[in-house]
Symmetry: C2
Subunit: 400 residues, 2 copies
Amino acid sequence: MHYPSAFSPVTNKMKSSLIRELVASTKNIPDLISFAGGFPAPATFPKEELAKIFQEVVSTEGSDVLQYGASEGDSILKRELLKWEGLELDPGQMLTTVGATNGLYLYGRALIEPGDVVLCEAPTFLGTLVVFDALEADIHSIPIDDEGIRMELLQAKVEELRRANKRIKFIYVIPDFHNPGGISYSLERRRELLAYCIEQNIAIVEDNPYSRLRFSGEALPTFLRLAQQEFDGSDVVTEVVSFSKILGPGLRVAYVKGNRELITKMVSWQQKVNITPDCVSQRVVSRFLEKGLMNPHISRICDHYRPYLNQMLQQLQLNMPDSVTWTKPEGGIFLWLTLPEGMNADELFVKARDKKVSFIPGSKFYPEGQEKFNTLRLNYTFSTMEQIETGVQRLASLIK
Amino acid sequence: MHYPSAFSPVTNKMKSSLIRELVASTKNIPDLISFAGGFPAPATFPKEELAKIFQEVVSTEGSDVLQYGASEGDSILKRELLKWEGLELDPGQMLTTVGATNGLYLYGRALIEPGDVVLCEAPTFLGTLVVFDALEADIHSIPIDDEGIRMELLQAKVEELRRANKRIKFIYVIPDFHNPGGISYSLERRRELLAYCIEQNIAIVEDNPYSRLRFSGEALPTFLRLAQQEFDGSDVVTEVVSFSKILGPGLRVAYVKGNRELITKMVSWQQKVNITPDCVSQRVVSRFLEKGLMNPHISRICDHYRPYLNQMLQQLQLNMPDSVTWTKPEGGIFLWLTLPEGMNADELFVKARDKKVSFIPGSKFYPEGQEKFNTLRLNYTFSTMEQIETGVQRLASLIK
């Protein structure tokens, strides 16, 4: 059997994650200091609490959670999530998914016809771009500034695409502690984007893995909440929330909230893709929430990460030349660093690897052909204080 | 936002599981005797062993299993699965999936271009048909007899499709304890189908949820094993094995074995669909296997189910008129019953529901337009001995 000749055309041309390949290229380097990944610190995993709850759930609710579950998600988990969020939503406006990627895949699957336009921020999370790309979307990116997507460029892009008779389906945004951009949308920009998308009939999908990892400052309402509160309960927004950064990515549990008809179609796709997320893990998350463990746990994670962010900001300040700038986030797990115009972070990556320090070149966070090369992403949650100091010093000396 | 107008065409025309709707239509009937579902008996779930292993795994391996895992699956689970199966396979020829449906979805995603022909048995498992249908396959079914698919009808169908210039991608088969057909392929028929598909360059995907649920008789080699042993290690077969019936469907863990290039493409799709199955559950299954608990547990399940199968066979024998026939399987969880020609099981379903007994009409297990109406599927693993007696009596009196 000659399989390659049997693969569907989209399978043959599909992109894999360049980030995965970059990380793999540094895998066997001993003593490497890595600012590359997006992994949470294992020290933040609530191992003992979860071990106890897993034992309890399987022992006392095993007949239920080891059985087939509902494709729309565990009803007990949905109840606890709505309580936790304090949202007035019907469970039919929510589904649970096998992590946020599964939620975004189902969303794309429900909406994208090959050739449809998907808008995104530049830069944006590559892991999501490859999902929409595999669904044969025509992806267009719009630059962000410190307050979010640049509205005048978005408007110009939408007009240009509409003149070309393109069908624009939705815009993908990461409003809080942007990956990789390290910014959060201002309240004003949130309102502007919402008003514009409602007017233009462009759906919004809001990726929210980080909003609860806030170490300082005031939280702003999510797009979903703002649409409910200030835009007559508009259902233009679908929000995808992940537990990967606040509980542990090995538990493949996330949830999606949005328009009921859309959620119904996503559930119908889930029946074909997975039947349901893992039922034991869903119930464990329910009980973790019900016991009131989630908020104190998130506070502990923030307390854990805060000094690492401060250390990285301080080391950058101490070591980088004036020509280099970077974001100063109040949470999340990434910084975005801008090198002098003309300097190439892809080349810097190779040199840095030789000096045993790594990061992700910014070019990897743009759709193909739309790359910016003088930027890079730094993660600070997976290194020690000493590694952050040494790693930033090494990078700074290479840049100088 | 008007979502329905934004849905992709395939989403709008996608079928949902009719079985789900049928089961839902009987949901609120008190004292219903249901032979409809495909649920394993909760009494067979190894709750206490699993509860203990969940606790151990999360407590001692939490830093690993709560972290992101590999898209191709947990390497420890793959090692234990290969040991358990006693197969000479490289881990690169295997991936773990979020249940068997996810494995079949990824397989279809890697191979099906809209309009490609997928062949299947008639009858076959509807849950898989809706997957291939959602991927826009052109599905054609070929009748089975007591030994498996009817080769002369398969050959005629393939010739007819090839004359019409159709591209045939693969055939979907359930060789052991067929759902819903209740038969197992004979060794001879296995060899014939394998030889034919290799000659015709038609891939085979083998769905294997039941082969280990054998209560009597001798096991035959799976298609995958037979291809390795008797057909020069041919990689024409991809086998999907589920833990749903031997451990618990709430744990969304299954695995797929096949050609390395195909598996690589399926892993690449998994990165877009789910990233990875639940890492905690994968490791729990690994430890369950490693501790040697699997085979004794499966023996206990078989001991549990055997009397229920015998009870159903005996009650059918005692109560059904001579014009009704049924399969006599040596394992699995279903029987297939054939009513006199001209009797309609869809109509019988409605009458039976009024008498508080349910089943799935056979017509639901055929691709659209290819239905046979005088058949029905009976499950015997989710009822008590008394319910089987009463339920079969009620059905028999309706048929008479």
